[in-house]
């Protein structure tokens, strides 16, 4: 059962990758100053580990974004809101 391996046995993060690992979401969300973003982009271009990690994080964010459009408001709720609004409108006139 490989997933039960203790964290201590996992390989350490290479120092060059640490900056990207810590700021991957800021990088993907375009929240970093241009110079830092450029430096990370250059690192990723030559680092297979960080390319893989970027792909992992991108697919995570894409999975979350796919939630949009799910769980529409129930028809009963729509009808109730519309009914209550009509009531308010009628009483305001």
């Amino acid at each position: 059962m490989p997933d039960a391996a203790p964290v201590a046995t996992l390989p350490p993060i290479p120092p060059d990758c640490l900056e990207f690992v810590l700021h991957v979401w800021d990088y993907l969300d375009d929240q970093l100053p241009p110079a830092r973003a450029r430096a990370l982009r250059e690192h990723i271009a030559r680092c297979g580990n960080c390319q893989a990690y970027q792909a992992f994080q991108r697919s995570f964010l894409a999975a979350l974004a796919r939630q949009r459009g799910r769980a529409p408001a129930p028809a009963v709720l729509r009808a109730r809101v519309a009914f209550l609004l009509r009531q308010r409108q009628a009483s305001a006139q």
Binding site: L10, A62, L64, A65, R66, Q67, A73, P74, L77
Partner: protein
């Protein structure tokens, strides 16, 4: 007698809000119209046109806040009634969805104040940094590059979202699911952008923990790329 009605909405939107831009752009193509005075759409018609189409988004946000369908119904209902009452304060052409999210969150907070004291957690960055490092090491070691596209995550994400505590869940939902910018989320949540960033960091990390546990339980095997990498190592 005729009047011209303008609803110039092209300024709205953000880099993250592509769908919203498209929505308003489509509306703008028919926005400059001449209308007989006796048929000028009044505030009710404007409300129905601008606010009601966002009911699915508001419901989803309310559901993520309340984690209960019945409570979400109540929050949405109250949100729309308050929005209708305050419609005169809404600036036509500004971002109605953001405005509704703000009201929705306020309604939720008020309802929670009534039921139990609000205890908000904040991010503890030290522990999170360690957690991020662990995820990085595991992702590489176990070949998870495409993990999120190899699994049917819909039920897992819905479940995991409910497990992420406030205030991290709101930040995650607004930015990652509802495609709001950091600035918009900060406005809706009434916090500085830096707070949105740290809540988002924590929320995403907690979310990943849940999804990784789900993938592990589902017996996700290493990807082909990871196996090739190991073979070459």
């Amino acid at each position: 007698m005729y009047v011209q009605r303008h609803t110039d909405s092209t300024q709205i939107g953000s880099v993250r809000g592509q769908r919203r831009v498209i929505y308003f752009a489509r509306k703008q193509s028919t926005s400059k119209v001449t209308t007989p005075l006796h048929r000028i759409p009044d505030r009710d018609a404007a409300f129905e046109r601008e606010a009601l189409p966002w009911i699915d988004d508001v419901y989803r946000f309310a559901l993520s806040l309340t984690r209960d369908e019945s409570d979400a119904d109540d929050v949405v209902q109250e949100t729309y009634l308050r929005a209708y009452k305050s419609w005169h304060t809404f600036l036509l052409g500004s971002d109605c969805r953001r405005w509704l999210f703000t009201i929705c969150r306020n309604v939720f907070l008020r309802s929670r104040e009534r039921t139990r004291p609000m205890v908000e957690l904040e991010a503890s960055d030290g522990a999170d940094v360690v957690g991020v490092g662990v995820v990085f090491a595991q992702a590489l070691d176990r070949g998870w590059e495409d993990m999120f596209s190899r699994l049917d995550l819909i039920p897992a994400i819905e479940r995991a979202l409910r497990c992420v505590p406030e205030p991290f869940r709101s930040a995650l939902l607004l930015v990652d699911v509802e495609d709001q910018s950091y600035e918009a989320a900060a406005e809706i949540l009434s916090v500085p952008i830096g707070t949105v960033r740290s809540r988002l960091f924590r929320g995403r990390r907690l979310m990943q923990e849940q999804l990784i546990a789900y993938a592990r339980d589902a017996g996700l095997a290493p990807s082909q790329q990871a196996l090739a990498r190991r073979a070459n190592a």
